[in-house]
Structures are given as structure tokens and as C-alpha cells.
Symmetry: D2
Subunit: 249 residues, 4 copies
């Protein structure tokens, strides 16, 4: 059977690397389900200095090892200038987080590496500013930059941020860039991840980045927005059906 989801970039994995065993177990399950991109954090950007800050270099090494052992492409956040070279050698795709979208020295330095870069939208950045930030990365010729909408800050308190679905057609149409959606950080709520993921695909998104773990409740970070593999499976099945229906029209 033809795999209709092959052009979509579906990235999944736990918020943060906690241990080799834990990451391997989840990654193994994700691979079984057909996932090709494994995400997890090593250098974390936490609002509070006394929150868990990630395993740092050790986390990078674990992610890299699990990726290699399972043949998954790895995805992780780069948070500081002095770690670009180190991480670019060990992680396949680097992510600029929402808090770093305006860190122009970091963006400029990422323009030189070969790895694809995912540029998350600053949670209060306009489309114009987001695109302008992407140009700090691409100004020297780099082309493999992917945008990621992860929710913007609004007055609504029941969701962590407000996922701005219009960003998908606008960034594709106006700026000719691929864009994926992160429904986990956008909503901050596990029960919203599946409906928002399906909506994003129907809207034309080029992919998804989802927090997923074998045992979401025990995650040290973002437990409330992390989904179990069964929920991810439901999303993947929906994508397949929609893509088949579209191809068969």
C-alpha cells in the first residue's frame, strides 16, 4: 500500500531526555508506528531557574545514540551560541525555540551550519517578524529552514497559548516556506492534541511536532500536554485516510 503520509514531517518524542532507557523505549514504539523523526530536549529553556534544566550534553549524547541505534532522525533545541557546533555534530535537526526567535546572534550563527533548522514562532511575533527572523538564518544562502507554529499569547487562559491555524496558509502563500505545527506547546492540554493535529493537516500543514511518551503522566516536563502512543496512532490513521481520500479524488 502506498504511504500517503510520506511527505509530511511527523516529529514525536518526549519533552525532555530523562534517561537512555526511557528514551529508547518510547523511541522504539514510535519507530514501530512509522515515525521517522525523534524529538527530545537536552538544553531546556525554563521560565524558572529552579525548574529542571535538562541533561544538557549528556542529554544530547543519549538522544544521538538512540537516534543512531533506531535509525531515527533526531530533533532538539539549540539555546546558546556556544553549543551550536557541538549540537550540529550530534543532532540531525536543530530547533530554535519560541523564546529564541529574536535571538539574532543565534539565528545568524545557525545560517552557517548544514543541518536543517526549525524556527518556532515567537509567541508574540507577527508573521512579518517571524519571516524577518528566518532571513537572519537564510541570508547567507541556507535553504533548509522550516517554520513551526506553536501558539501565540492571547487573553484566553484555558489554553496555554492560542494555536494560530491561519499561519499555515499565510506563511506558505506569502513567504513560500514549509510550516509544521506543534499542538502540544500550543494547547498545553493532552486532550486538545489530536483535534488540533487533525485540523493542522487538513489545513495543509507540512508536518507536526508532538510530545509523546510511553507513560505521559510520569514525564518530568510537560506531562499534561504529552500524549500516549495510542493517541498518536489515532492522529496517524486520520492523516492516512485524509491523504488517501485526497489522492483518490
Amino acid at each position: 500500500m502506498k504511504d500517503n503520509t510520506k511527505d509530511l514531517m511527523i516529529i514525536a518524542g518526549p519533552c525532555t531526555v530523562e534517561s537512555y532507557d526511557r528514551l529508547y523505549a518510547t523511541a522504539y514504539k514510535l519507530k514501530e508506528m512509522g515515525i521517522k523523526y525523534l524529538r527530545s530536549g537536552a538544553y531546556k529553556m525554563r521560565s524558572r531557574h529552579n525548574s529542571f534544566q535538562g541533561l544538557k550534553d549528556e542529554g544530547v549524547e543519549i538522544l544521538s545514540r538512540v537516534g543512531k541505534e533506531l535509525g531515527l532522525r533526531t530533533v532538539s533545541e539549540i539555546t546558546r551560541l556556544d553549543k551550536i557546533e557541538y549540537m550540529a555534530k550530534r543532532v540531525d535537526i536543530l530547533v530554535v525555540g519560541t523564546r529564541s526567535m529574536n535571538n539574532y546572534p543565534l539565528l545568524e550563527a545557525l545560517g552557517i551550519i548544514h543541518n536543517p533548522v526549525i524556527l518556532k514562532r515567537g509567541f508574540a511575533a507577527s508573521y512579518t517578524e517571524w519571516h524577518a527572523s528566518s532571513e537572519y538564518i537564510t541570508k547567507s544562502g541556507k535553504t533548509n529552514v522550516i517554520l513551526c507554529e506553536r501558539g501565540i499569547r492571547t487573553f484566553e487562559p484555558q489554553t496555554r497559548y492560542t494555536l494560530d491555524m491561519s499561519a499555515i496558509p499565510v506563511m506558505q502563500q506569502n513567504y513560500n516556506m514549509p510550516i509544521i505545527i506543534d499542538p502540544s506547546h500550543a494547547s498545553g492540554k493532552r486532550e486538545l492534541v489530536a483535534p488540533l493535529s487533525k485540523a493542522a493537516i487538513a489545513c495543509g500543514a507540512n508536518g507536526l511536532m508532538i510530545e509523546c511518551d510511553l507513560d505521559p503522566d510520569s514525564c518530568v516536563c510537560d506531562a499534561k500536554q504529552t500524549i500516549a502512543p495510542e493517541v498518536l496512532q489515532d492522529i496517524l490513521s486520520f492523516i492516512k485516510r485524509v491523504k488517501e481520500a485526497e489522492n483518490g479524488k
Copy 2:
């Protein structure tokens, strides 16, 4: 062939009633496409006093006549206390617009009529406040109230409002109410209506309310966000495919 879209409330029509002939022509086309709900405005809420304010009673009469002639259920906005009885007799479904979501005397009075009421979200209302407004209508026992998300005000200037897709699962799950989406007023841009409509359906919306006209460019109101019937057809085809795929799973 089974009509998989029958449970969705798909409402379409021009922003405002301009003349009997014009409304009839568009409504005839919509009916051909399978649309069952015809929307159009007679009493308009315009930010500027010197903008076109609608045909008022004459507009209500035209809408009512076209609806009866074509067997379409009619949908129109109620803007003032002293017109509730008049409109309730002539229009099937009354809409409380975004600017009236906090007009509690109006909401209270709508609790007494039998017509279904669509309650649009105030463009700066939280989920909680929106639900609280719905209770002004339902407190005396009325049950046929439908919510409509139509975009919230954010800092982003490229879209008129930001469509908050998360409202769909939240209002359904937390408040057990049906919710439809208005992608036209949310985006203010014709080219965003199809992707947002598809996203809304994939997200689980109970319907759509879309501004559509045979000749969008010549509409006196909201021309830039009004779509042509072919675009609506594309949306309807998508819905059919998705629903078939879901039913066939």
C-alpha cells in the same frame, strides 16, 4: 449515495441582503450545491455610522421570501431588543453577533423565543465568559443554542482576527455545546477560507458559516472575505471525503 455531511450545519450566503434578485441568484446556486441554510444580513453592526447599515426590515422580508421560495432555512443577525419579535417570525435562526455577546438584555430576551439562536463569541471573550453569556439565553430552559467561533482579537495584523481552533474541542468537551466556525469574519481574507474550513471540520466542528456570493468582488460588504461558489464546492467535497473516510474506518 449516502450523504455524509448531513449532520453538519453548513450555512452560506452573502454578507448582506442587497436586493431580491441578487440574493435569489446566489441562494439558487447554493441550493443546487446542497446547502440547506442561507445566511444574509439585514440589520448590520458597522463600526462606522456612515457605512452601509443594511436594508433593515426590507432586507428581512427579502431573505424570508427567498428562503421560502427555495426551501432554505434562513439565518440572520438580531441587533436590537425591539426587533426580536419581528425577526423571530420571519427568520428561522437568529444570530447574536460578536459585538452583542455581552448585550445581556438582548440575550435574556432571546431566551423566550423558539427559534434556534447562534451565539457568536465576543472577539475578546474568554471561553468562560462566552459560556456565561449562553446561560443568559438558556437560563429559562431554552436548549437550541449553537456557539460560533469567529476569531479573536490578537496582535497579528495580517488577519482580521485570529481563528481560535481550540475553541471547538474545549466548548464541546467542557460545556457540552455544539459549535460552528465562521472562517470568513475570522480571517477577513478569501484565500484563507478554504483551509480554515477544512481544518475546522477535521477538528470536529459541528458546522460552518461562510460568506459566499456568485460575484464576491461586487459585494457591498466584506467583499474581500467572500468566496465564490467554486471555492465552497471544494470545501464541501473535502468534507464529504473526510466523512466517508471516517465512516469507513
Copy 3:
């Protein structure tokens, strides 16, 4: 001694009329302090239908009586079309609340009465929209319309709304309209009322509208943002000093 505050419109009083005795006692104290405008609510706009909705006509009568007995000009909110004539006869100044700024039928009808009208800013209205709403009142020649900034909705949860101080110079300079400030509803916090009031005066505001009661903690509405007379006295003393300093420069 010259009263330097005479050109400022300082309005004070309890959020809502609870009884003749209670209102009289507070109003008497306010008059002693030099206050000339007494505010209090009779028709209330409450987010929840089961919150206290005001004493309605009875509240209007009490406010009117206390105003006459003490020689204070009365200020109260008008919430519905069918009460304009009634209230215009009994209350000196009518207030259009933040939830009614887009109630264009109400605004239009207020253009015909002679009483001054205070138009509060919709909590998500731009300066342009606010001014456009004022034109619904002034289009037939009415001139005694006063704007009132009362905070806008932002992402910040520690204050009820965010008081937008820039509205003072912008509305004065760009639209040539007088503007007063309501620090009580803006902040939702008693301890912020004095600093925001002083700031507003220094910024050039034409007046203040402040919730004040002899016994703030026992108020049925808005207790947390209502100040005691001593705090109001501190504000009045600051205003006097600043005005004297300005006049003496």
C-alpha cells in the same frame, strides 16, 4: 484658596446602589471631600446571569434622590434601549459601559438626549473604533460626549485589565475629545487605584471615575477594587499639589 482641581471631572461612588441609607452615607462623605459627581450603578451588566443585577428602577430612584438631596450630579450606566428616556430624566450623566461600546442602536439613540454621555472604551477596541463609536452619538450634533479609558484586555492576569495610559494624549491630540480614566475597573485592585489615578492626572486626563465606599469590604460588587475615602483624599491632595505646582510654574 483657589481650587486648582475645579476643571477636572472627579466622579466617585460605590459600584452599585445597595440602599438609600448606604448610598447617602457615602455620598455625604464624598461631598464633604469636595466631590461633585456621584456615580453608582442601578442597571448592571454582569457576566453571569446569577450575579446581582442591580436594583434597576429602584436603584435609579435612590441615586436620583441622593443626588438631589446633596446637590451632587449623578452618573449611572445605561444598558438598554428601552430605558434611555426613563434614565435621562432622572440621572444627570449617562454612561455607556465597556460591553456596550459596540451597541450601535443604543449609541444612536443616546445622540438625541441632552444629558452628557460618558463613552467607555470597549475592552478590546482600538482608538479608531472607539472614536467611530463616539460618532454614532455625535452624528446628529450632540457635543457633550466624554471618553473613559477603563483598561484593555491583554495577556497579563495579575490585573483585571491593562490601563492604557497612552489613550489620554492620543484621544485628546488626534480626536480632540476629553477623556477621563477609570482606574478601578482597569486594575481590579484597590492598591493600584491611587498610583494609577495620580499617573492619569499627570498624563493630562480630564478627570477620574473611581469606585469609593465608606466600607469597601462589604460592597456587594467590586469590593476588591473599591477604595475607602482616605485613599480618595490622598489622590485629591496629590491632584491639588500638582495643579498648584503647574499653575505656579
Copy 4:
């Protein structure tokens, strides 16, 4: 005569260092007016990569030289980890700009230097997040951190940002930290700088940071929000009068 403004930190200067001669001329005038803190940018954070990015090291050297020659304390923005040591040696007070408020690696590194640090509020940061960011700087014992409110992002397009005056009493009362106001970046409009500055002082701010230049119109950055010395003089006179009035009460 007693100088009642001595406890306020009034910082002024051009947005960016353009040349030694230009900076010296403005700084000389500011010193004449009693200003003790000279601000100017060398490393700039510009939304667009092709906007003027500042004179960088050369700008730092010029600022440092002018400061020493005139006996003014210098204030400039630090934008990258690898320049902290360099700038800390040459500039008296380092500023963390709004775009860097969530750059935790930068904040942490600033905790080690002795220079005072001004932490601007992220333009979409809550009070809580802002304070949490300050703790990245103070967690190792540093105490000389000053907050700076510079406007938050809202839906209002006529001002660049919305100055949140409530931040002054909230950050002072709830977090016991000094806070200054930047009316220039907040408003983006020269004509709003004086009223907002006066308001901030009346509200209890611990100081101001204002963009000022001898010839505002010819500034390469932020010309529209830069004031001339005469406007600054008007602000300083107001401050003096208010402080005298307060002390004499």
C-alpha cells in the same frame, strides 16, 4: 536649592551610537541639563537583518570614551553571551533588551558581573515571568538589578506597544524591586513621551529611560520616538515640581 530628583534614575541619550562627535554633542547637552546617565546602543537587536546593526565594538568604545570625558555613567544593551566580559569592562550599566528577557543563558551569565543590570520586560511577558527571569540574574546573590517596563504587545496599532503603567506598583509591591519606564520604545511616538514620562513619575516609578538627541529627525534609528532636549527639559521640570510638592506636603 535641594535637588528633589536625585533619587530618580533618569537615563537619556540617542538610540544608537552613530559617531563620537554626534554622541558627544548630545551628551554634553544632557549633562548641562543635569542628566547623570547616558544611554546609547552599540550592539543592536533589529527585526530585519538588513537594518543598521550598530557600530558594535566601535560603538562601545565611543560610548565609554564620551562617558568618561563628561563624567556620565554609561548604559548600553548586551545582546550576546560572548560580549559580556568585554562590555562589562567598558560600560557602567548593562541592559537586557525586551527580546532577550527569555535568553536564560545570557541572564545567568550576567549574574556573575558586578555592573548593575537593567532587565527590560519581554513585550509579551507576564509580571510573574519577568520576575522569574530576574531570578536567573539574582540567584547567585547579585542584587543590583533594575526592572524596566517598555510596553507590551496588544491589539492597538496606533502605538508601537502599550505602556503598562500598573507594572510600577505591582513590581514594587509584590516583588520589592525598583522599576524604571521607557516611554520611547513603548509608544514609538515622540509626542507621547512627555505625558507618559510624567505619568510614570506620578505613579511612583524609580526612573526613566528616554531616547533623546540634539537632532531627533536625523537619527538613523527610532527617529520618530526620539525627543529633543527641550522636551526632556519639560519632563525634568515637571518632576522637580512634583517632588517639591510631595516633600512639602
